[in-house]
């Protein structure tokens, strides 16, 4: 950790206290332990955040790995001013947004299905994922992949993360560096828009 004599001591936040052991390991120079700890604690969250941005499970996993490789390289420069999780999420967002920008990747619905099938993973964002549902339930449900395709950013990202993160606005706020109030507002409007889109779909069919 690079905290020189003139560096003000940061006020410890809840996230900082949670990762105090990782910061201690970092100050000992044990980069290996820090990365191990970070992966154990945050790999799923990093994956969720990546998935909410790129919306392709295989690409999201690949980018999540890239994030941790970047973290490994940047750890000696981490100054501990922000919580390590905040730093990690910033790297994740930047990595994913850069990837999206560079490739201008538009994932068609077919590719979405193929990507999930190729990996042997359960289908993500699709009706087939809910295997135990009855025929009646399936009929009563909407295809969220199609609905989300039509939902603009940032609503889509917030909605996706909200459901991936067990419906916690606080977690979504932390992942996106947004106040919880903003997350709630975006979520409320996003759901209304989705309902409107679902209504339109029903009217057409």
């Amino acid at each position: 950790m690079n905290s020189g004599p003139g560096t003000p001591i940061p006020t410890p936040t809840l996230a900082m206290e949670r990762d105090a052991d990782l910061l201690a390991a970092l100050s000992r120079g044990d980069r290996h332990a820090v990365l191990e700890g970070l992966m154990q604690r945050y790999r799923q969250k990093v994956m969720h955040l990546a998935l909410s941005i790129v919306r392709n499970p295989a690409l999201a996993e690949d980018l999540s790995q890239t994030v941790f490789v970047k973290v490994w390289q940047a750890l000696p420069k981490f100054d501990g001013r922000a919580a390590i999780s905040t730093w990690l999420y910033t790297i994740t967002r930047n990595t994913c947004l850069t990837a999206v920008e560079r490739e201008r990747r538009v994932v068609p619905l077919e590719d979405f299905q193929e990507a999930a099938d190729d990996d042997g993973d359960p289908m993500v964002f699709g009706r087939a994922q809910a295997g135990a549902e009855t025929a009646g339930q399936a009929a009563a449900e909407y295809d969220v992949t199609k609905l989300l395709e039509q939902l603009p950013e940032p609503y889509r990202r917030v909605v996706v993360l909200f459901y991936l993160e067990d419906r916690s606005c606080e977690e979504v706020g932390e992942l996106l560096s947004m106040p919880t109030g903003t997350v709630k507002a975006l979520l409320h409007r996003g759901r209304k828009k989705l309902a409107a889109l679902a209504g339109e779909t029903e009217m057409q069919s």
């Binding site: 790999r43 490789v69 295809d143 969220v144 459901y163 991936l164 989705l194």
Partner: protein, 135 residues
């Protein structure tokens, strides 16, 4: 007609059941460690490093020449403007006929062009590889 509240409830239920991410486990961590190991074992490109340092050397030499010429000009014109000291710049010029002058200019232009092209080619990937093999 299906009412709004019902649609919202169904959308919420659909999102709950369909939005799932693959669970990551130890295999993910292993893949990250493998990528880190591969990156750290990857040898640095000696050809690129050498060409970088040679480019830096060229730049340094050109800069030194530029600074020296500028300093010389400043000194000469400073002396001219602020002191009575006159600098004698009457250098002997060779007597050359117009035809010979044209011929010299033509040859010089061709030589400069050739040198410039070769210099440019030296910094292409092929040129770098050739220089690395020759040095």
């Amino acid at each position: 007609m299906t009412n709004k509240l019902d649609i919202e409830t169904r959308v919420d239920r659909s999102l709950q059941t369909q939005l799932k991410a693959p669970r990551l486990d130890g295999r993910f961590d292993s893949a990250v460690w493998e990528r880190i190991a591969a990156q750290e074992q990857r040898p640095t490109n000696p050809v690129q490093e050498r060409s970088m340092s040679s480019a830096a050397r060229w730049l340094f030499v050109v800069n030194i020449i530029g600074v020296a010429v500028t300093a010389l000009l400043v000194v000469i014109f400073g002396l001219h403007s602020f002191t009575d000291a006159s600098v004698n710049l009457n250098l002997p010029t060779p007597e050359v006929s117009a035809a010979t002058g044209d011929q010299i200019l033509k040859i010089a232009a061709q030589a400069i062009t050739l040198v410039s092209v070769i210099f440019g080619l030296l910094f292409t990937p092929l040129g770098r590889r050739l220089r690395a093999e020759l040095t």
